[in-house]
């Protein structure tokens, strides 16, 4: 474990150097992600100029859901973004075979190979959204609540990671599963709004099959108890850990299948 921490630090240090070298690129990346997010928030704002609430949720409450998703996603984007590239950067050009003979966990190696700068834009905008929304909500914030928020956001990030890892693993059989990963990832758009606005089938799907519901709505529902999900929301960290285990087990299977094809 200690060895991996040190290794990661070494990897990260070199990424930092690269980032500082291309400072303008770094800034453009951060700014563009922020602008993108801002556009979709602006959309919600325009709609709320004309209505009071959606399904009982006010503008700032929706913003709170958004903020949790954005901040959670930034964890995934900063540290685990390289999973997207598993197919075309590692398996197709044969780079993965080289990683397999090194004395480190291949998943660790793939993940540590990149620290994604745009993720910082995501993190900043996520924190800004949360910072805007929280003072407007009628909530009491003590140490316990803040701790809970941090746990929830981290869980949200882990679920993003687990889902991506799971579907990226298909690359072991089909060389590049990027289209699948991308299509599944788009499902996370559902999580921007209260799940209660959707048909029951969609809600079930986003809770039990591809659990994006836990990336934003359930965590938010723990703090804003509108629809009686407060208790259910406590399962969020459990769901996150379970998803990670499942995805990692699947990854190991895929790796085995890949390695045993031999070539």
């Amino acid at each position: 474990m200690r060895r991996y921490t040190r290794l990661y630090w070494e990897f990260a240090k070199s990424h930092m150097k690269v980032m500082m070298e291309y400072r303008i690129d770094f800034l453009i990346g951060v700014a563009s992600v922020m602008l993108e997010q801002f556009a979709s928030i602006f959309f919600v704002k325009v709609v709320f100029d004309h209505i009071e609430q959606i399904n009982g949720w006010s503008f700032y409450e929706i913003l709170f859901i958004y903020g949790i998703a954005a901040t959670g996603r930034s964890i995934h984007q900063i540290f685990f973004d390289n999973l997207w590239t598993l197919g075309w950067q590692y398996i197709r050009p044969g780079k993965l075979d080289r990683l397999l003979i090194r004395p480190v966990n291949p998943l660790f190696h793939v993940v540590a190979d990149r620290l994604h700068q745009d993720g910082f834009g995501q993190l900043i905008i996520g924190l800004i959204i949360l910072g805007t929304a929280i003072p407007q909500l009628d909530l009491v914030w003590g140490a316990a609540e803040i701790a809970m928020l941090v746990i929830m956001i981290n869980s949200s990030g882990l679920i993003f990671v687990a889902i991506n890892l799971f579907f990226a693993t298909f690359s072991f059989w089909m060389i590049d599963s990027l289209p699948i990963v991308w299509a599944v990832f788009n499902l996370s758009d559902f999580a921007r709004y209260p799940l209660t606005i959707y048909h029951k089938g969609i809600r079930m799907f986003l809770t039990w099959i591809i659990p994006y519901g836990f990336t934003a709505f359930y965590p938010a529902a723990y703090f804003i108890d509108k629809s009686g999900y407060k208790e259910f929301a406590l399962w969020t960290p459990v769901a996150a850990i379970a998803c990670c285990f499942l995805a990692y087990a699947f990854w190991n299977r895929g790796l085995k299948a890949f390695a045993s094809t031999g070539s």
């Binding site: 990346g29 563009s32 556009a39 209505i51 399904n55 289209p179 758009d189 969609i202």
Partner: protein, 262 residues
């Protein structure tokens, strides 16, 4: 004429090869429709109209806008790649006008997209959502004209963004900015009439609304009567201005290459 058509056809064939991406794209579009549907249903749960727009008209607007936005892009990406890798020098020597060649590629791509991407969406949308049809065949005709003009405005604009690669290295940042601007100001997400006043005024002076908002408003009946012809006039103005701009900037850009000695 024939050679440009061959170029368009070539692009169509290339595109059919990407079937995994095609299915992923279709699934994602269906999901987007679902999100739109449930979101607006929830928005309209407590009121029958927003700014005199009822749910049916709103859904029609949003869905048609979503479909139309898929066509607003263009060849800017490819052009920028060409410029960065120096391909453009060879392209310029070939026996065709490079601008028309790029537009031919673009038309091929868009025809394929119409068949593969848009038609299935239209069927799904009309089966499962209560969308309204325009009231008269005349409106449909005007919409088609307006949509085509809007698409061309988008294509020209995209071309202009692509040409920037002659002067700036970081094309990617400019592109993201462009995407955001279009999504923002074209009215692809929400009718511009819902914008706050100050923003609506700014929008009216920009070319983006001519890409999506005007055609879709004609279709969904948000604008009617003589206003339709006004809208078409505005669109034509932008079409011609942007085309002239494309020509001027392109010739400047070519001079630039010659200076670099290519």
């Amino acid at each position: 004429m024939r050679k440009y058509w061959q170029i368009a056809k070539g692009r169509m064939q290339e595109n059919t090869a990407y079937s995994a991406w095609y299915w992923a794209g279709t699934v994602s579009s269906v999901m987007r429709l679902l999100i739109i549907y449930f979101f607006w249903e929830a928005v309209y749960a407590n009121q029958t109209t927003i700014q005199n727009i009822n749910l049916e008209t709103m859904l029609t607007y949003i869905v048609i806008a979503l479909l139309l936005q898929g066509f607003v892009g263009g060849v800017g990406n490819e052009l920028a790649e060409n410029i960065k890798e120096g391909q453009v020098a060879i392209e310029l020597m070939r026996p065709y006008d490079m601008i028309f060649k790029m537009f031919a590629v673009d038309i091929g791509e868009k025809i394929m997209y119409l068949i593969q991407g848009t038609l299935p969406m239209v069927l799904i949308a009309y089966f499962f959502m209560d969308l309204s049809f325009p009231k008269s065949p005349e409106t449909i005709l005007l919409f088609i004209v307006s949509a085509l003009v809007g698409i061309w405005i988008g294509t020209f604009f995209d071309f202009l963004v692509g040409v920037l690669a002659f002067w700036t290295v970081n094309v990617w940042g400019v592109r993201v900015l462009k995407e955001s601007l279009i999504t923002f100001f074209s009215g692809a997400l929400v009718p511009i009439t819902l914008f706050p006043d100050w923003l609506r005024t700014i929008t009216e002076f920009l070319p983006f609304q001519a890409m999506v908002y005007l055609p879709v408003s004609i279709y969904s009946g948000l604008i009617s009567g003589t206003e339709v012809y006004m809208a078409l006039g505005v669109q034509l103005f932008w079409l011609i201005s942007l085309y002239l701009l494309v020509r001027v900037i392109w010739s400047q850009a070519i001079k630039q290459i010659t200076i670099f000695g290519g």
